[in-house]
């Protein structure tokens, strides 16, 4: 290969200029298959990365290693029968998956929810957000190379929240707790005291976590300016949740749709400036602080009354024909369920709008021009769970 072929940088690698080296290998692109068992892919996810030197010039994600056609399963069981399956989508945040599904079915059937259940749902959703964001921060640090320690701190806190979930629903992660028209069991006074205790001390943990990480020079050097996502691209590509807000777009479904009893609580929506990996980390930490504020208000204002609507039907539940799309702000973004009923006990069509699957649409755009090591932390900051991506 002659030198003149090498003078122009390859398409899609901004800024990187190819060194003019006179050997037969230079200028060749190298295709690397990362995954499906690479530890940084958070499960069985694969990226086919084309490299020029160490610079990424092309990246194609490959999905489907965990595919079990969840939506077909949903068509073959009753509405209630799908509820435990929703736990298995994003297994870090089963409580919000349950809520999104319950909300869609309640929209479809016109089912009311008692006030106490709405408060309990908010408490559980915000605990889930704490859990998910804490884990994400830990995993992101692991991807950055802080091997072990931040992740173990994060997992310690996660177990306290999972203890609460277990004592309430009987299962740490596969909670299967929400029902159409309320929740399955009423939280006891002991449980509420435990949740209050956890809420009170979570800020202390966050302070400690932030002291070690947020201002850390190495982490700032590693993550700032990496994987920038411009707001226009984020909106067009359907990116939702903390990813979208890190790019500076003020769009939080808790404010926009005002579902449940969220309008009663005072909280702010943190926004990022640069849309890089550091902003995405920071947004999650700030959202956890806001979640603590919501938890304090919800636990203080929890009303009495029934946890289930007494008129709600669980067995032989047949919503009349029609369709509904219900969505909530999950920890990873907008999780929605689209249900089409033909009047039978099973849904005619059961569709999940998976936030982490759609957030991966722009993975290639964010990684172009960066190195493989950067691709690892960019993927870490997207926050994916493969149970939901592959369904």
């Amino acid at each position: 290969m002659s030198v003149s072929d090498l003078s122009a940088p390859p398409a899609g690698s901004p800024g990187s200029r190819v060194r003019e080296v006179h050997d037969s290998f230079h200028g060749d692109l190298l295709e690397v298959s990362m995954g499906p068992h690479h530890p940084s892919t958070h499960g069985v996810f694969r990226m086919i990365v084309t490299l020029d030197g160490e610079t990424i010039v092309k990246l194609k994600p490959v999905f489907g290693y965990l595919h079990r056609n969840h939506e077909k399963l949903g068509e073959n069981v009753t509405y209630l029968g799908s509820m435990p399956y929703t736990d298995r989508l994003d297994y870090l945040s089963s409580m919000t998956n349950n809520w999104a599904y319950a909300l869609a079915v309640e929209k479809l059937a016109g089912q009311a929810v008692p006030e106490r259940a709405e408060y309990v749902r908010v408490i559980l959703a915000e605990l889930t957000r704490l859990l998910n964001h804490t884990c994400l921060a830990g995993f992101l640090m692991q991807d950055c190379g802080c091997s072990g320690t931040p992740l173990m701190y994060a997992f310690r806190e996660r177990e306290y929240i999972l203890d609460l979930f277990e004592s309430l629903s009987g299962s740490r992660m596969m909670c299967n707790y929400q029902r159409f028209g309320g929740c399955r069991v009423d939280p006891s006074a002991d449980w509420l005291a435990g949740a209050q205790k956890l809420t009170d001390r979570y800020g202390v943990f966050l302070d400690e976590f932030e002291t070690l990480l947020t201002g850390n020079e190495i982490i700032m050097a590693r993550t700032q300016g990496v994987g920038k996502l411009p707001p226009a691209l984020a909106i067009g590509a359907g990116v939702t949740g903390p990813m979208l807000r890190a790019s500076g777009v003020n769009y939080d479904l808790r404010k926009v749709d005002a579902y449940g009893v969220y309008p009663r609580f005072d909280f702010r929506v943190p926004l990022g400036d640069h849309g890089d990996v550091y902003d995405r980390y920071m947004i999650r930490v700030l959202e956890m602080r806001e979640s603590i504020k919501i938890l304090q208000q919800a636990l203080a204002g929890l009303p009495g009354g029934p946890i289930m609507d007494p008129k709600a039907k669980l067995r032989s539940f047949r919503p009349k024909a029609g369709e509904a799309y219900g969505r909530i702000e999950g920890p990873k973004g907008e999780i929605g369920f689209y249900l089409l009923s033909d009047g039978s006990p099973n849904p005619y069509r059961y569709r999940i709008r998976p936030p982490s699957f759609i957030n991966l649409t722009i993975l290639e755009d964010m990684c172009l021009g960066h190195t493989v090591a950067d691709a690892v932390i960019i993927l870490g900051s997207v926050d994916i769970v493969l149970g939901e991506v592959d369904r």
């Binding site: 999905f63 489907g64 595919h67 056609n69 939506e71 077909k72 929209k107 479809l108 059937a109 016109g110 691209l233 909106i235 067009g236 590509a237 359907g238 990116v239 939702t240 777009v249 769009y251 926009v256 919503p319 009349k320 024909a321 029609g322 369709e323 509904a324 799309y325 969505r327 907008e334 929605g336 689209y338 089409l340 009923s341 005619y348 069509r349 569709r351 709008r353 699957f357 759609i358 991966l360 649409t361 722009i362 592959d390 369904r391």
Partner: protein
Amino acid sequence: METPEQIRDRLLARFPGAEITVVPNPGTAAQHSLLLGAAHARALAEFLRDDATLRLDQCSNVTGIDWPEKEIVETTKVATPDPANPAGPPKVVEQKTKRLQPGCLEVVYHLYSISLRHGPVILRLRTGNRTDQAAVPSLTPVWRSCEFQEREIFDLFGVTFDGHPDLRRILMWDEFTDHPMRRDYVEPDDYEWEPTPHGTVLEKAKAHYPAPPPAAGAPAQGATP
């Protein structure tokens, strides 16, 4: 936000030849949708995205629905003169007519506006049938978020999206031939069957072996009984 009827009227004023029908939703959610004809779908979608009062900049959810052919039995009562008693009252006979409702594949888009914070506006596209005309125009050039979701519908339902930049299977493997989300999909019975070369299984497995290349001059292997 405007009702679907108002949106339809405004679209028809802007695009006079377009086919737009409002599909009512009988359920309590009352999220009505707009069924677009394939010819103008891309132009209509671009208008909805850029229009100043709608600004539907986010396509949140894209999904497919399979509607197989359906046999509809209609019962009509026909009065015919009674042959036994022509002067008497006519005899009422129930006549059953069978009608085959043609099937189609449907793609549903849920649109929201992030800048104006409203929605959803629901668009529907339908294919001509479920076999040789299973194509609709892709809306990926309008909303990037459709890219993976349309690939998923292509994979699981078998809808071809004209104009999609990278239409490949996404969840199933590339060699897979069927579309599992179709209502009439039948799982192959030898789905995970792997031959192990012993006894009767070996005989069965031979059918799956590729034919050996014929060696020049020598008799083909396995030709002798």
